[in-house]
Each structure stands twice: as C-alpha cells, then as structure tokens.
C-alpha cells in the first residue's frame, strides 16, 4: 500500500524522491526531509503507530555501503535540520542541528581560529548526526578523541517519537544519565540525533606534514618508532603501496608514513626534529594549507576502499604493529592511523575472512565491514551484553521502528 507524507504527519512539501535513498538495491516506500526536530518526532510517532521501519539518513556516505535492510518503509533525510543554533567562541562550544555537514561547521569555527574536533571522509557530505551515529573518525582520532569525547549533550528522538535531551552545552556536566554518549556508534538504531553540543578546540598556529618513504624493513624495528607516541603527534598514518599516488614526489616504496604535527610553531619545530632523529630525513615536507589538504585526502581514503572494506581497531600506537603482516597482499591498500590503532584495508571478497583471522592474531579486531555480511565483527561479548543491548533497543524503540535488520549484535 502506498504511503503518503500526510500519513507521516508532514506537509506534502517534505516529500523527496525515494529512489535517491536506495540501500543495497532496495528502495524505501517513501522518503521525507523534515525541517525541524518536531517534524522528525512526528514522523517517528507516525511510524511507531503504523509499525513502519525508518532509516535515518545523513549524507549517506556510510549507508551507501550498507546492505539491504530487511524492511525499509521510510527514508528519513535529516539534512533539512542544518542550522547552527549557538556558537560562542569564548566558551569553545557549539550547538547545531544534526543534518548540517561537518565541513560547514568546520568552516564556521575556523573563521574564529577554532577547530572542529570531528573528522570523517567527505566532510562536505557527512553530517554531524551521521558522524556521531557512525562513530566516525580520522587520522587525529587520538588527539581529538572520538565523537563521544567531544559530545557534551544532544537532543534525539526515540523510536516512539519521544523527543528527549540529555547532557548539556557546558564542558562539565554530570547531571543525569548520559544517554547521548551511548548513541555514538549506534548507527541510528537506538534513536535519531537531531541536535548536538560539542566541545571545540583552539586551532593550532602551525601545521606540518612530514612524508617518509618506508621500505618493508623500516616497519620492523619498534625502537625506531618508540619515541614518537611520547611527543603526541596529531597524526601518524601509514599508507600502503596502492596509495602512493596520494603524494607526489615520494620514491616508489612499499609504503609511506605521514607524520602530522599541529601545534604552536616552537613545538612543531621541536617535534619535527625528534621525528627526523628517529626516522631520518623526510621525502617531503608540507606546511599549513598543503598539510591540511593531504590530511583531508588521507581522511577520505577509507570510504573509497573496495570491493570489500574492513575496519579494525587495536591498542597499537606505532607503525611497528604492522610489521608481522606487512608482507600480506592486502596490506597494499592499508590505511593505518597509528596513534589510535585504527586500520582500514581492502580485500577481495574471498580473502576477507583470512585477513580478519590473520590480523586478529596480531591484536587487530574487526569492527566494521562493507558490504555488510562479507565478514562479521568478532563479538567476544559474554551473552549478557547482547541481551543488554536488546533490552536497551526495546526500551528506546519499543516497536522496532529503527530496527532495519542489518546491524550487528
């Protein structure tokens, strides 16, 4: 049966073309783009009443690689919620609606010399809510923290249409249960984020990227890398051979490592000395805008890996962790953000399971795979954890409105 915008409690003007929201080849019965959080709540109330399944959409970059939902009635495009609600530079805080692209936010705070502490591939497309819900991060994951670390509070809509708010907009706040933090990484399956408050950072005075050619042996010596975590570089990313085109002017080697230094000028100079003492002379040094541009290209990389893209987490902090697997064919596609231990790589479908097993033996845990179903994250949780998650889903989304049937756990 056809579904109308009116059935979802909205004016017809909020309807958008469902064919733009296909997931895994499956098109929703209807698609809407509400313009306010109250309208989002109306949609979810109506969906709950009529037992519809709703998929919240931000920029769609991550969803594009998701599998087909088991059920898919409504695509809920949140990009109509795109206002900055409050930005007070002297408080280093910002509150915005969740459909705003993070590049827009980054530009707004950069104009005041500040830094948005969120990263994602394709930031002009990725929305605030999408970054939070997907727990997205980039090369600076350790320096900036994850989305949960920067989120001061949020408004969100539960599956039954309840509009709720937890946390606040001040940098210290221990009043009440921090439900907003639990929504980070929940992939839109616990609630729909509509508004978020963030703790910002001052922008650094100087940014520099040192690019090193890494022959295979260069990874294997832990002592070579040991001094680097202690000086806390903003980022240190190892890129497999396939990505050497990302930086021109670097010799053809097995891999490249980029050390990103972002701080005041005196400390960046000193950090660079320490890094060069440890690793030798860089093949290339990029300053400020060039360093930012390279970081942006590196941040985008994981989203273009394929045909299978695997994302791993690890406690490792230096490139030496890659030494035992450096000879593997699939390491040519690797993107490893060393300070936070995050590793992305591409494999053929047939090779994915083996890559997961090999890396698992070296401390890398698969936490995401696309296309969905090609490899499942290794969930070693005691049975009580999935049971708890199920109770939380039932509590926040009693009618399964946000349960599209493709999430893990």
């Amino acid at each position: 049966m056809d579904l109308s915008t009116h059935d979802l409690g909205l004016d017809a003007a909020r309807a958008v073309d469902p064919s733009d929201y296909a997931l895994g080849g499956r098109t929703p019965r209807h698609a809407v783009r509400p313009a306010s959080r109250d309208e989002v709540a109306q949609v979810l109330r109506a969906a709950s009443r009529d037992r519809l399944v709703v998929v919240p959409w931000g920029g769609g970059g991550q969803l594009a690689r998701a599998g087909a939902p088991a059920r898919y009635d409504v695509a809920l495009d949140l990009r109509g919620l795109d206002r900055v609600i409050e930005y007070e530079p002297e408080d280093l805080t910002l509150t915005a609606e969740c459909g705003i692209p993070i590049a827009t936010l980054a530009a707004a705070v950069a104009a005041r010399g500040q830094e948005l502490p969120l990263e994602s591939a394709h930031p002009a497309r990725a929305t605030l809510g999408g970054v939070l819900a997907m727990n997205a991060s980039g090369p600076r994951r350790r320096q900036l923290g994850g989305p949960r670390d920067r989120l001061l509070g949020a408004r969100f809509v539960l599956g039954d249409g309840t509009l709720a708010h937890t946390g606040g907009k001040v940098v210290k706040n221990v009043a009440g249960h921090a439900v907003h933090r639990m929504l980070c990484g929940s992939r839109g399956t616990l609630a729909v984020l509509v508004e978020a408050s963030l703790k910002l950072l001052p922008g650094p005075a100087r940014r520099r990227a040192l690019v090193f050619a890494l022959p295979g042996w260069a990874l294997a010596d832990p002592a070579r890398w040991a001094p680097i975590p202690r000086i806390e570089p903003s980022w240190l990313t190892v890129l497999g051979r396939e990505h050497r085109g990302l930086v021109s002017g670097v010799p053809d080697t097995d891999a490249i490592a980029v050390v990103g230094l972002e701080d005041d000028g005196a400390w960046v100079d000193r950090q660079a000395e320490i890094v060069c003492d440890a690793l030798g002379a860089p093949a290339l040094t990029l300053e400020d805008a060039d360093a930012i541009a390279l970081r942006a290209r590196v941040t985008d990389l994981p989203q273009s890996l394929g045909p299978v893209c695997l994302r791993f987490a690890s406690p490792h902090v230096t490139p030496a962790a890659l030494a035992p697997v450096a000879h593997q064919v699939w390491m040519a596609s690797a993107v490893f953000h060393a300070p936070s231990g995050g590793l992305w790589l591409a494999t053929e479908i047939a090779a994915a399971a083996e890559a997961v097993a090999v890396l698992g033996a070296h401390g890398f845990t698969l936490i995401d795979a696309s296309p969905a179903g090609v490899a499942a994250p290794l969930v070693a949780d005691a049975a009580a954890v999935p049971e708890l998650r199920a109770r939380l889903r039932a509590a926040l989304d009693p009618h399964g409105v946000l349960d599209r049937g493709t999430t893990s756990s």
């Binding site: 001040v170 249960h177 921090a178 005196a266």
Partner: protein, 493 residues
Amino acid sequence: MSFTASDLAELRALLGDEGVLATDAALFTYEADALTLERFRPDVVVLPRSTDEIAAIVRWANAHGVPVTPRGAGTGLAGGATPMQGGVVLSLNRMGRILSVDADRMFAWVQPGLVNLQLSQQLAPLGLYFAPDPASQQVSTVGGNVATNAGGPHCLKYGVTFNHILGAVVVLADGSAVRLGGEAPDAANDDLLGVVCGSEGTLGIVTEICVRLMPKPAAVETMLFDFPSIVDACRTVSAVIAAGIVPAAMEIMDQHTTQLIEEWLHIGLPTDAAGVLLIEIDGPAESMRGQVEAVVAHAKAHGTGNIRIAQDAAERAAIWKGRKSAFGAYGRTQKGFYIMDGVVPRTRLAEALETIVGLADRHQLASGNVFHAGDGNLHPHILFDPDDPKAQADALEISHEILRMCIRMGGAISGEHGVGIEKRPMMSEMFAEADLATMERVRRAFDPACRLNPGKILPGGGGCGEGARSAREGIPARIGAMFPREDAEGPWI
C-alpha cells in the same frame, strides 16, 4: 528488611569472615559519604576482592531482593554512596591494585579501589600519569572517579574521567560480568561504557578499569594574578580561551576565601584583591614562554595588579596548597557551610558571581567563591549557623536559586559532584519529563528491578529514583551543613 544470622553466614561463605562487616560501628561508618547529614544505615558492608566475588554478591542480593550500593572512598559530596534503602554496601577498598601497565601503548588496567593519586605516583617513573585529578585525589578512588565522571582543576585541558577510560569490566545488575570497551579506542557497537561512566553506580559495578595514560608534561608554569574586581578576573579567563590558549587549569578565589586561607596558612596570598586568578599552563618546554607572555598580557589588559609566577616546585605547591585549602579554611570559621556544584557557560561567570553575592547579601549570609573558572564550574559556599533554622532555610533557598540560575544560563546543576541524593529535586528543573523518562528507560534496561544504588539521580515518583525505605523520604530537599576537620586541606572541591 533486617539481615538474619543466616544471611550473614551466607555472605561470609562467599567472602570470608573479614569480607563481611555487620557490627554497629561498621554500619555507622558506612551510613553516609561526605554528605554527612543524609544518613541511612546499611544492613551489611561487604569488602570483595575480585570481580567474581562482586558478581556473587550481586547474585546473592538479587536472590534476597536487597539493594546493593557500591562505594569507593566515600568522598562524594552528593550522597551517591549513601545506602538510601539499606541493604548491602559494597566497598571496593580491598580492590586497590594496578593489574598491568603497558607503558609503550600508554594504558593500564587497574582495580576500582585504587586511589587516584597512587596511580599517577606509581606511573611517574615511566613518565606517564592518569590525567583526571579531582581535588579529592589523595583519597578518592579510580572507581569512584568513573562513577561520578570526576573532573578536577586540570580537566579544562585534559577532559574529565570519561575521556580517559578505554574499557571496563562491569558486573551488571543480574550478576553477570561483562567487558565494555577495551584497550582499543574504538569498538563495533554503541558505546555502553559511555553511559556507565558517571552513572553513580546505578547501571553496573565497575570491577576492572582500563585507563588511558598520558605522557607527563615536560614543563609547568603556575601564575597567580590579583584583580581589583572579580569580574575582571572572569573576563581574563574568557580572553585567554578566546586567544586560543587552553591552560591546564584556571581557578578563581574571591577575597572572602583568600582572606580566610591567608589567616590560616600565611602563604602570601594577596588579601586586598577582590579576586585572585590562578592559571597553570603545561606542555612542552618549547611552548611555555610564548604562552606565559600571552597569558600575562591578557591579565594586564584586564587590570591585574600583582603577578606572581612560581619560581620552583615548592612555590607551585604553596600556591596550590592555598587553592586546595579553601574547604578547610571555611571550616575554621566554626560555622556550618554548604558547598554547591553548578556550571555556567564560561562567558557568564561574572554575571553568575554577581547573582550569587546578591542572593547571599539579600539573606544576610556570607558566601565564598572558589571555582574552576576555566570550565565555568562554580563551587559557591554559603556560610550559616546550623543551629539557626531561619539561616538554614535561607541557605537552602539560596542554593536552589543558584542552581536555577545555572539552568537559566544554559549550564548544569552539577559539574563534578554528581546528583546522588542531594540534587535529585533539581533534576526536574533541569530536564523535561520526557528526558527523565528516557533516562529511566535506560536505567531499567540495565537494572530492571532497580537494585543497584536505588534512590539516586532520578527524582522519585515510582521509578528507579524512588527514595528511602523509611519515613525519611523527602529529605533530599533538606540542607546539610558540613564540618570539616580544621587540619583537612580540603581535598574536596
């Protein structure tokens, strides 16, 4: 319920004789945390030594239908560790070890009863430390810090406890032990640890904690500025932040406070200034000079009189001793006083202080202000005669008005002490009914029978915030006077 000899025998079989305390003296000791006027007697105190023992206690409590209230060092100021419904107080004091340290990858597994400062002291030879430093850190435990998501003077730059916790083993309300998060910063799913942190022991009992460690800063500079008006001190704070400098700490004391401290300790605090601003910066030695010069320039631009920069570690320690002695200094006045914990946006600090002073003046009560200015975290102290019912009522009214002001300004009713018992009535003013109902849904998903630390955080009304077991329900609206020992440096605020 009242515990029978058979109940105690069962617990002793689980924990050994020394793990179960049931004497009158022991039960009295555990009636309250640092919010001492709210006292509720537990039926038993247990001191487990392992995750397995904690799980066994929780299962035993489930089988007997009794509540369990976890407790660290008991330094909480909001009554979070007070057993409102009696039952079992589960003290983590016998679980105070560092389990492992990975210095290269900068994390450690610790037990929850480990004292915060001992962790950093033991890590010092490795050049690492645990950044959260609540002023209670000489006493308070890492588990307690997780439960209250503790802050501290240096959380301005480094973040609160939650930002430094990678993972934890948690005993859930059904007695199962699970691991949430881990050594890696990211995981496959939604962040359950994120909601457990700061839940004041209501969602689970944290039994092992993976803490993120930081390299110890190479250099520290501690500066003290005096100002002819506290408003100027507040404006300096905003100016420094706006200039892109995030000091490790920015603390303000008003004249009332500095005079009391100086009368006591004679450490050279300027007593004729309306406000004193302490700014500490830390980081690489290369960065210090430029930041010191910038901070001093901002302070001068806002009218600072005298500038004192600590010349060595001893002078730095003396300055911090002054700051951390505020609590003890108030206690020396021999009056009751009430410490509050509220937050306003940093840019509204000056306005907030004027309001606080105005409220106290209107009721003819003295107030002192010492606060974490960098993050807008106020700790107003209202001084009153606890034997005077009118003064007590006035102090209560002032405290509620101050918290309402925090809410109006877009702040919070607690920055670091937690809600516990004390702030429950204010939760309904800060949050809408739907917000509280959402929190209750999450709480019930974790703990369907509300057995873990019942009566805390959420306001009453039939949910998990339902209050005390006795006729003392309603007490949270009362005010508690605090009488610290005079020798206490005040590791509290």
